[in-house]
């Protein structure tokens, strides 16, 4: 009994070390983002299709001016609840470069579902030139590439404030409570009613931020729902198998004194 307690404590300790390893880079003076409830949390967590579609609208109308989502293809949008025709329509609104054609020329054509969603800039240099030297990051993985990613993105989008007295802001920088160092080159991206939602949801800043996070969380981990479903079945199966093996072990070992 004693040994199993110590063993459990040991495992807990290792988990703790693993956990602190994860939080070790909570950077500098930025506070930890407050925890939000997300539909994709937990064992049965799934993505909220309506929120993701609203979030995609926010991305398209606001973020896409500066940020790409280069790991997403138009075809992926079917996963957030758009029909095949809707995906074709969304793709066709965007011109992409294709080629070379038979005469060796590159040419423009409407995008197809099989195309990656193009970013706003041709290269990083062009992006910096258009943004006072700052590079807008690609957003495909942002929800996984920060500590407590979804909470962080939400906190950042809603964390713009006037700088406290005594804080000297660098030119073209904005004060944000949750950004490491508090000085961020991105202007406050969301303003009330900036996006007119098709489903009539009021476009408050927290609402748009939440919807955008739902979209970006899916963009970073599109297989989460499949993973959650499979995990439940796998673990259920393993529990049954464990029970069977335990019974078999008891039975077999009852033949001898041990």
């Amino acid at each position: 009994m004693f040994r199993s307690i110590v063993a459990a404590a040991l495992v807990a300790g290792l988990a703790l070390v693993g956990g602190t390893a994860g939080t070790a880079r909570a950077e500098g003076d930025a506070p930890h983002p407050p925890h939000q409830k997300w539909s994709f949390d937990g064992v049965f967590g799934t993505y909220d299709r309506a929120a993701m579609q609203r979030g995609f609208q926010v991305y398209k109308e606001v973020c896409a001016a500066c940020h790409g989502v280069k790991h997403l293809y138009f075809r992926d949008l079917a996963q957030i609840g758009y029909s095949e025709d809707q995906v074709k329509g969304i793709a066709a609104q965007v011109q992409v470069t294709d080629g070379p054609n038979d005469s060796g020329e590159m040419f423009q054509r409407p995008a197809r579902p099989s195309d990656p969603i193009p970013g706003p800039f041709a290269n990083d240099q062009a992006a910096r030139a258009a943004n006072n030297g700052a590079l807008p990051v690609d957003l495909s993985l942002i929800a996984k590439a920060r500590v407590s990613g979804p909470d962080y993105v939400f906190a950042l989008l809603t964390g713009y404030k006037d700088p406290p007295a005594g804080v000297k802001m660098n030119p073209n920088m904005y004060f944000n409570e949750y950004y490491p160092g508090h000085q961020i080159a991105m202007p406050p991206p969301l303003n009330p009613d900036q996006v007119k939602y098709a489903d009539g949801t009021p476009g408050s800043v927290p609402q748009m931020a939440r919807d955008l996070v739902s979209f970006l969380a899916w963009a970073a981990e599109p297989t989460l729902e499949e993973r959650h479903r499979a995990g439940f079945k796998v673990i259920l199966f393993l529990i049954v198998v464990t029970g069977v093996f335990y019974a078999a072990k008891r039975k077999i070992w009852s033949r001898i004194q041990h």
Binding site: V6, V17, A24, K144, H228, L238, F245, W253
Partner: protein, 433 residues
């Protein structure tokens, strides 16, 4: 203290192949007469005499073997989809996650499998330390195990570089730079590791090649580990050799079913990580593509390297830090001779029984220090914990063996088991002696 036991077949590979029993058909006998694989398996797996009293700590050896196979199988399939090029590697991993059928599963199993492998092997090693499994005649068995640990560490580091995220890149930079501490040839070694003058595409290519080949070297050393194991058989919680047939049971079905039970319990833990906490043990920065121009605020290795990382950072001198870090692993080679106690099992060692737990506790402290920035109290705690780590092996182990008075050992495993009586589990009364 160990002598050959009458009645218990101790030899392994040198035993001439005997024809398998009458249960086999003509084809099997025909094959076995020419290629004695069947009788080999019967001898080494089915009939293999094993101490009757192994507890669940003994499950971790076979678990380690199974996770090695899982890593190789998932790794080989991942390699079919991965592109080892500095400008394509990160995106190819994302393609695996998004577009390869069950690619997310393969990658998360492989990624978390590395952590599970280390967790299992660390527990396996602690069991060896607690029950004195490295003592005569199993010194080489232990040493081969430490060789496996070193190969695992190299393989895990090389594999961590392959996704070419920020932590991959900067871990590669930090770790390879440690070799520059070697006097005279240090810089040449680093250039050789990099294949250039900085971590870049040639580095990724050679790391990929080595990451693919080293696991097969591990398999070979595991083979030797098993040969050494089967020469004298498993140690056991009492730490006394088997004296006769009454001390042993055939491996199959007793330990096959016990290992299967242990495996399925382990797979539940593994599945919880893979399906519900796949990135818990990882670092978010590794989802940012490698960028030589931007250094992450804190470069931290995976959790299984944190204690060693803490040792490295607790010494202000670079060379000494590197020496101590490698020394922390290499010192394990000497354990069979550092432990001077005539008794194997900590069960009969009233002091070491408690002291042995201080080592994993110290490792957890070191891991905690390694996960945090090296400033303030962490520096001091790290230095104390580093000191204790070496004190444990170099001073406590030799000293305790000399001054501690062990409790009397049971006459035989069988006697101890019989004395325990049927209704009570065998282990508990032994502990109270």
């Amino acid at each position: 203290m160990a002598v050959s036991q009458p009645g218990v077949p101790a030899g392994s590979s040198s035993t001439p192949a005997s024809l398998p029993g009458s249960g086999h058909g003509r084809l099997v006998r025909w094959i076995d007469h020419r290629l004695p694989v069947i009788s080999f398996l019967e001898h080494e797996l089915t009939a293999y005499p094993t101490p009757v009293n192994l507890n669940y700590w003994w499950n971790f050896g076979s678990l380690a073997g199974i996770i090695l196979v899982i890593m190789i199988v998932t790794g080989v399939v991942l390699a079919m989809h991965y592109t080892p090029h500095a400008s394509l590697a990160f995106d190819s991993v994302e393609r695996i996650m998004r577009d390869v059928n069950y690619g997310w599963l393969l990658r998360y199993v492989h990624m978390n499998g590395a952590s599970m492998f280390f967790l299992i092997v660390y527990i396996h090693m602690f069991r060896g330390l607690y029950y004195g499994s490295y003592k005569y005649p199993r010194e080489l068995l232990w040493i081969l195990g430490v060789v496996i640990l070193l190969l695992m560490m190299a393989t895990a580091f090389l594999g961590y570089v392959l996704p070419w995220g920020q932590m991959s890149y900067w871990a590669a930079t930090v770790i390879t730079n440690m070799f520059s501490a070697v006097p005279l040839v240090g810089d040449s070694i680093v250039t050789l590791l990099w294949g250039g003058f900085t971590v870049g595409n040639p580095t990724l290519n050679r790391f990929y090649s080595l990451h693919y080949v080293l696991p097969f070297v591990i398999v070979a050393v595991v083979g030797l580990h098993l040969v050494a194991l089967h020469q004298h058989g498993s140690n056991n919680p009492l730490g006394i050799e088997r004296r006769g047939p009454q001390d042993s049971i055939p491996f199959h079905p007793y330990y096959t079913i016990k290992d299967m039970f242990g495996l399925s319990v382990f797979l539940i833990v593994f599945a919880v990580f893979v399906f519900y906490l796949p990135n818990f043990l990882g670092h978010p920065d590794n989802y940012i593509p490698a960028n030589p121009m931007v250094t992450p605020p804190h470069i931290v290795p995976e959790w299984y390297f944190l204690p060693f990382y803490a040792i490295l950072r607790s010494v202000p001198d670079k060379l000494l830090g590197v020496v101590l870090m490698f020394g922390a692993v290499l010192i394990l080679f000497l354990v069979p001779w550092l432990d001077t106690s005539p008794v194997r099992s900590a069960r009969f060692r009233p002091v070491y029984r408690w002291v042995s737990w201080l080592l994993p506790a110290d490792a957890i402290v070191l891991g905690w220090v390694g996960a945090n920035p090296p400033s303030g109290a962490f520096v001091v705690i790290g230095q104390i914990a580093t000191f204790y780590y070496f004190f444990h092996f170099l001073i406590l182990m030799p000293l305790l063996g000399k001054i501690e008075r062990p409790r009397p050992l049971p006459i035989s495993i069988g006697a101890a088991v019989l004395a325990a009586g049927p209704p009570v589990p065998a282990a508990a009364p032994m502990e109270r002696r």
